[in-house]
Subunit: 293 residues, 4 copies
């Protein structure tokens, strides 16, 4: 019918404009068709060789961090995570060791020859943090803290940006654009589960976000299997799904003794569990043993 | 502290009871540790050999259905889907061919030597439908239509039960229990995406539902990649993720000419696209060419 | 800019068509500007005089039902609810007294001179139920059970249709259209909370659904304050908000002894609480004492 | 049964501890039963006399702001809003006039003898902003920007804290505690709609959040009817519901010429509409004409 024809024309017009608008973004694949590859201490992130990031939820002490770094690097993983500034729902929960935590990470990184990533929450801490960290993390709660994003955009340091807990993919992409618009294009996007009505998992892992973000942007895309599921028994299946659908990397939490962890005790693997986790990913061909380029 | 100790005791007690309650369900893996395997025309569903279900959203004619059946079986798929009774949001949209659609499916199944599955929406149609179908589908909108579930539980015919669009996994499992409590344990659970705030996809594929349902029940678990994503470009990545995370099967829509389909035009593959879909799943080792036991 | 102009034209075109489509619906206010007013045993529902529906979650016995009817009618309320067919998440929970429950309701309605409403879940029970009930309720789980809707559309009896737990307003309106398209236009729409991430309440009362439904359709709109909040302490504030925003009626649960109720014990008012509930609504001018036309 | 008894004991124990934990919060009503009343330029916020906050989405010029201030104060409203630092999804959208916007607000406040509120997004701007503003707003995107909250907690200035777009009430209350834990107890909580699957409104107004927040805390609770609904036609009904359910105030957007507004054009009232809005609220007794204490 004529009406139907008109409708299709209208739709096509709207989609065209939408596409135009997205094409303008610096992070858009329409603007830059090649994948962004980020070099971190001899690793290449986003070059097709999948990466693991592992480490404790929070840096609690030198000993705890070193013991995880030892296990992590022995399993071929060269990117260590650990929270120093911890945004917690309650002001009375453990808030992290702060700068001391960053110093521990740096020391451990040097000793175990690995790269380190940690979350920064205040714009004024970013320059200082660059001395200690190889990658700056911006957490889910701060995905629309545009002052922090803009400040991170003025650094010359890779930034891992987590999706906000109820952010649309469009908002997520625009938050990355806040960083890149200031000059810093070394951005890793990280899906970490979204908030839905379902309570069987801590959040709902939006797995198709991975191919969509890969299509829409030229940036590497990671999946945080710990925060998306909140369940140790789901880390391995979720990691397999993430790699199968095209994720450039997976982030998971490991703690030498999860039962006494100062935060997120229930969802961190112990070292033995982590070893099996890596072995399974390698034996099912989702991960290579050596993550160096 | 003493308070903490008490808290742990309370928690343990509550979890114990929760476990006890779930153990009682007939569909629970605690009650029956071995996997349920369902035999359909020489196929074994749930035996570890992944299955594809493919076919048009709606049965529109003998020719359309036969042309899909031809393509589907040539690609090694032996389970054909096609809607005869279509629950549509608007009463004025195409509601399916009804019994005529079932007859077409039966004819095509005989000619192409494949099994057929279709949705039934009225309790009184179930017995009639058993003459035409190898598997009865109960759709997302009817997941809590308990009269339909109970009637399906009195059949001797496999039932594929789709998750409701905002159902929790616990509600989903209980709906399966409604069927099994009436005697019919041949149940396939099918994740088909849940309703969330995100609009980049039609629904949000809750991928970790698969391992959770496999843990909690002994039933085969499928993923409908068409309705969960609503996007043709995501069918292949979603299917890979589904198989990687342990799904027993994947359901996808194929139509000889999607552009003129009477329903869901935008999300159905054409025959050529379907062929590539199968090839990619086979070459990435997620699917074997021959789905017969 | 030219592009902007085009965009506006496109938008206008789309909206025009959307409007056209909605105008065609029988339930649409565009099709019929005057309010539908439904007469039930001397009450006029939807004429601007707010109505209360009150009664137990489930009919458990003649005594229990009569004792609520006594209290309810003494407070000027003439519309009694009570579940006879109870759709429950678990097949092992109390499923209601069935036909016996309807008979109790009828008896009590005659004795206390009030109207009665109860949920029907199977299409084949509808005709039978019309002998006992003044209003047929179709519950949230069955909002898209189109076979039930169509069957209800062939009755000459008012139907109260509850919004599905994750239904959009557009889907809700279309479900009403399923009923009206079969000839029955005596439909009351009932907002009963939607499923969201928030857990402080059982569901999230979508209060602006009321004015939207009043704008889009010519049907009376009610709010179920019990199921939307799931909290006794919120029934009164929610009822005030519902009336303030223009609801034609409010539904709330009352039980002579909530602690021993066979379902939903935590959220039902006892008789004394109900009395205060009515008094407060009357004294704050949201409710008139006499609900007769 | 014995098991049931145990369950009740467990539950009671858990609830007791939950209560204990919440009692400890400084913002908790358990800790301080009396309402917090906040004095702003001769107004008392939270004393039972409902308040309106009105003004443009963004401060665009002196003339625009003064013309709204004129209309607003003529209608008895003495609290003017206007965005100077605008957090926008895209970095390329209008980001507000910044300090210049604050200066305009201050000038207008002096001329029209009203109080002014505006959002601040960077911790380092807070002290400066106190010179221009009577109330500091912290927006939904920054509800868990804890560095900003802690810095606001060190001010001696009222803070209006908006609920995050997918924040639970528990997280919202804890964010207020972040402010109060630093010494500043002059906090207004503002419900502004939550993100759900429904698209008929911009967000879903969680109206029962109002009585829950009033119960759980001793702080004044407002409702932003503009951002929760995103629809001009729903501002009045939503405001009535908000006042009926016990809100201490309502915030709404007014612009001299919404069609040319630099942000949120579709949802702002023009001056004539605002006048009717106030008149309706006064005539239905939800608002007094004079908002001075």
């Amino acid at each position: 019918t004529l009406q139907h024809l008109f409708k299709e024309i209208f739709k096509a017009g709207l989609e065209l404009q939408e596409v135009d608008h997205k094409k303008e973004l610096l992070v858009s694949r329409k603007r830059r068709p090649e994948d962004t590859v980020i070099s971190v201490k001899g690793m290449e992130i986003g070059n097709g060789n999948p990466i693991l990031i592992a480490g404790p939820c929070a840096v609690e002490s030198y000993e705890q961090t070193a013991s995880v770094a030892d296990a992590v690097t022995k399993n071929g993983v060269r990117l260590l995570r650990g929270g120093a500034f911890k945004p917690r729902t309650s002001p009375y929960d453990f808030q992290g060791l702060g700068v001391e935590g960053l110093q521990i990470l740096k020391k451990v990184a040097d000793e175990y020859n690995c790269a380190v990533i940690s979350e920064i929450v205040h714009p004024q801490d970013l320059d200082m943090a660059c001395e200690y960290l190889d990658i700056i993390q911006i957490g889910a709660r701060n995905m629309q803290n545009y002052e922090l994003l803009k400040a991170a955009g003025r650094l010359n340091k890779p930034v891992l940006l987590k999706r906000g807990l109820a952010a649309t993919l469009d908002e997520f992409i625009n938050s990355a654009e806040y960083i890149m618009s200031q000059g810093n294009g070394q951005i890793i996007l990280c899906e970490r589960g979204i908030r839905t009505y379902e309570r069987a998992t801590r959040n709902t892992l939006d797995i198709t976000a991975v191919p969509i973000l890969k299509q829409e942007t030229h940036l590497p895309v990671f999946v945080d299997v710990t925060h998306s599921t909140g369940r140790k028994d789901l880390l391995l299946p979720a990691a397999k799904a993430a790699f199968a659908i095209g994720a450039d990397g997976v982030m998971a939490e490991v703690h030498p003794d999860p039962a006494v962890a100062l935060s997120d005790a229930a969802q961190q693997m112990n070292i033995e569990e982590f070893q099996r986790f890596v072995e399974e990913l390698v034996s099912s061909r989702f991960l290579k043993i050596n993550q160096m380029a």
